[in-house]
Amino acid sequence: MLLADFLDPRTIVFEQRILTREQIYRDIIERICLFHKDILSNYDDNLLRAILDREKEAPMVYPSGIAIPHIRLDGLADTLIGMTFLQTPLNYDGIKVDWIVMIFTDKTSSKIYLNIVAALLKISQDSEIMNQLRSFNNGIEVINYLRQCKIKVGQELSVADLMVKNPVCVTPDTLLSKLDSLMNEHNISCIPVVDNEGRYLGEISILDVLKVGMPDYLMMIDDVAFLRSYEPLESLFEKEELVYAEEIMQKNTRVLSSDASIVETVYHMIKDNKRYFCVVDKEYLVGIITAMDIFRKVIKA
């Protein structure tokens, strides 16, 4: 399926004025409602409110400068798309967005919707296509160009689309104290370990850090309910300046490549009972993918 086939030139707009997010959204919703009278009732403020509320929960905005607000309607049985290219970018909590694509979809359809999101994301990351799109001034040109580029709906989202790029990482000679403060500061529970060139070596989770304070013999005891105050856990702090990342990192754990699919990622997360994976391309660390990222951007979307 081509993305172009989902679009209607009448719901594609190039906006010169400086408007608020709400105004732009209302404008798109009105257009979609107007040109799909057969299946939609007249414009209704409830739709706008629903979209804004959903956005508050999980903003569908991506670093490449695209926002994809959407709404699921009962019994719509179709996917409707409206979009606006902005002359002046809007600020979405620090991300400058100049392309807003709104999707109306059925409550039950998820796959096509996700595929459309993936296709849009791919376009937004391709500066050549984006520059071309911005140079147009009407919907017909946009649709023709997208048809010409053969932008398909159906390529799955991949890890690269959802991962955190350039995550906080450390080298093997990092002291435990430094690791602790990084985890604390960035509120993260896993840190990849890389060499000086950025090659992936291993990872350290919060449990690996806590384990420094737990001797092996404690782990071999059936039950530690009889221990109230146990000193070795305090030794974690004593060891902060003595233990290096290298000594506690997990080696040979599973990593994913950036072109791995989301289903593969979730599959491994469930199988390995792990909430994150380091993303490694040709030995080099490129990102981290977490279950929460997938949950927020795919499931809740």
Partner: protein
């Protein structure tokens, strides 16, 4: 194939396998199974004879005991007793050592030495760490205790289980003949311990107070299940004691107890218990050994060896039993004691066809049992519990070298073998 060639091949496979077992080049279960099936492949044993050589009574008895222990362990009773013991000693390090010796020996006598060690060594590491004293002497003493305790009953150590299954001796015979020997040997060892360590281990008041603050009451989570388990184990011991009258079969007694306890207490955990708490690797190691030793029996090598031994001791029971005691003691210090016993059983059975009087052959069996179990203390590699204990210590950054271990353990081994020699000579001759 001529008889001599068959015998040479069987002996070759036997020696090859035992070298692999002793040196641990490959996993010992793998070695024993390869040796066993090689005997069938080469035609030394038919598959039929080989499979019939497996002592299923031993295998199922052990599975039953593993089930019993899995359930009993979950009641928290072991932890409770260990912590209670340390607190009873009021943190006195020498007293802790002596009480731990007794607890370890007692527990090993009824539940097996390896299990006891796996449960108690981590706890002694914790206690020593809390008291800021070195755990090394404690670990060695507890290993010594586990091997001695295991020697005291028919169900304590695999060698005794195998002897019990291969002979007509029952649970009570083991108690009457072996337990007194072990009690005497233990008293001697406790005296030696006091002599070696008194006044040498010091604990500060502060660290003692920490250990005394342990709250062991919370460790028993399910009192009802604990009561049921202890009653079931008591009934099992009574049934084992009455086995010569009841003739149920020891494997059936332990399996019934194990299955009953799992059914009552842990039926939801049965798959986990079957996979993770029944030690299939050890069981199949034994399966392989039974077949390999059958190769030696079928090809006539064992009877050849028995005649050589009897020639040396001039068919006399007294020197034979002394020779067996000390030879077993020395050899099983270096060879895992189960393969050793598996080989010795047919040998002594063969000797039994020459020395037929029961009161003369009995001491030979008991000498072998005591020698094998106590000999396990001789070196670091003498018995499974030694290896397990040192392995746990090593995982905790505590390297106990072969020399360090053996320096202490060999003293206790020699002392206990001397006590047993005196016991056998005074009681049976």
């Amino acid at each position: 194939m001529s008889a001599t060639v068959s015998m040479l091949i069987a002996v070759g496979i036997f020696i090859g396998t035992y070298i692999l077992i002793i040196t641990e080049v490959i996993n010992k279960m793998l070695a024993s199974l390869i040796g066993a099936f090689l005997l069938i492949l080469t035609g030394i044993l038919s598959q039929d004879i080989a499979l019939r050589a497996i002592d299923w009574n031993v295998i199922f008895f052990l599975i039953g005991m593993m089930l019993v222990i899995a359930v009993l362990r979950r009641t928290g009773i072991f932890m409770y007793i260990a912590i209670k013991t340390a607190k009873l000693a009021r943190g006195n390090p020498l007293l802790i050592m002596m009480l731990m010796f007794v607890v370890t020996a007692f527990s090993s006598a009824f539940l097996g030495s390896v299990t006891t060690i796996m449960i108690l060594i981590p706890i002694i590491l914790l206690i020593c760490n809390e008291l800021k004293i070195t755990p090394v002497p404690y670990i060695i003493i507890m290993v010594v205790a586990s091997n001695m305790g295991g020697a005291a009953t028919m169900i304590g150590d695999p060698p005794n289980i195998i002897i019990g299954s291969a002979t007509d001796y029952d649970f009570l015979d083991f108690i009457f003949n072996l337990t007194p020997a072990i009690i005497f040997a233990s008293i001697a060892c406790l005296a030696l311990m006091w002599f070696m360590y008194h006044g040498k281990l010091k604990v500060s008041r502060e660290n003692r107070a920490k250990m005394l603050s342990y709250k062991e009451e919370g460790l028993i989570k399910n009192k009802r299940m604990l009561k049921i388990s202890l009653i079931a184990v008591a009934i099992m011991l009574v049934l084992l004691a009455l086995e010569s009258i009841l003739k149920i079969g020891t494997a059936t007694i332990s399996m019934s107890t194990g299955l009953f306890l799992v059914l009552i207490g842990e039926r939801k955990e049965i798959e986990h218990i079957m996979v993770h708490e029944v030690d299939w690797v050890t069981l199949f190691f034994f399966v392989g050994l039974f077949i390999i030793v059958e190769g030696l029996v079928q090809t006539g090598f064992i009877s050849l060896l028995a005649h050589k031994v009897l020639n040396l001791t001039h068919n006399q029971a007294r020197p034979t039993s002394m020779a067996i005691l000390w030879l077993s003691g020395i050899l099983s210090a270096f060879i895992d004691n189960v393969p050793f016993v598996a080989t010795m059983i047919p040998l002594i059975k063969q000797i039994g066809t020459v020395i037929t009087e029961p009161n003369l052959i009995d001491p030979i069996w008991w000498a072998m049992s005591l020698g094998t179990c106590l000999g396990g203390n001789g070196t670091l590699i003498g018995a499974s519990s030694n290896v397990v204990a040192v392995g746990i210590a090593k995982k905790n950054g505590l390297n106990i070298s072969f020399k360090e271990f053996t320096k202490v353990s060999v003293v206790y081994t020699i002392l206990s073998l001397i006590v047993c020699s005196a016991y056998i000579l005074l009681r049976y001759f």
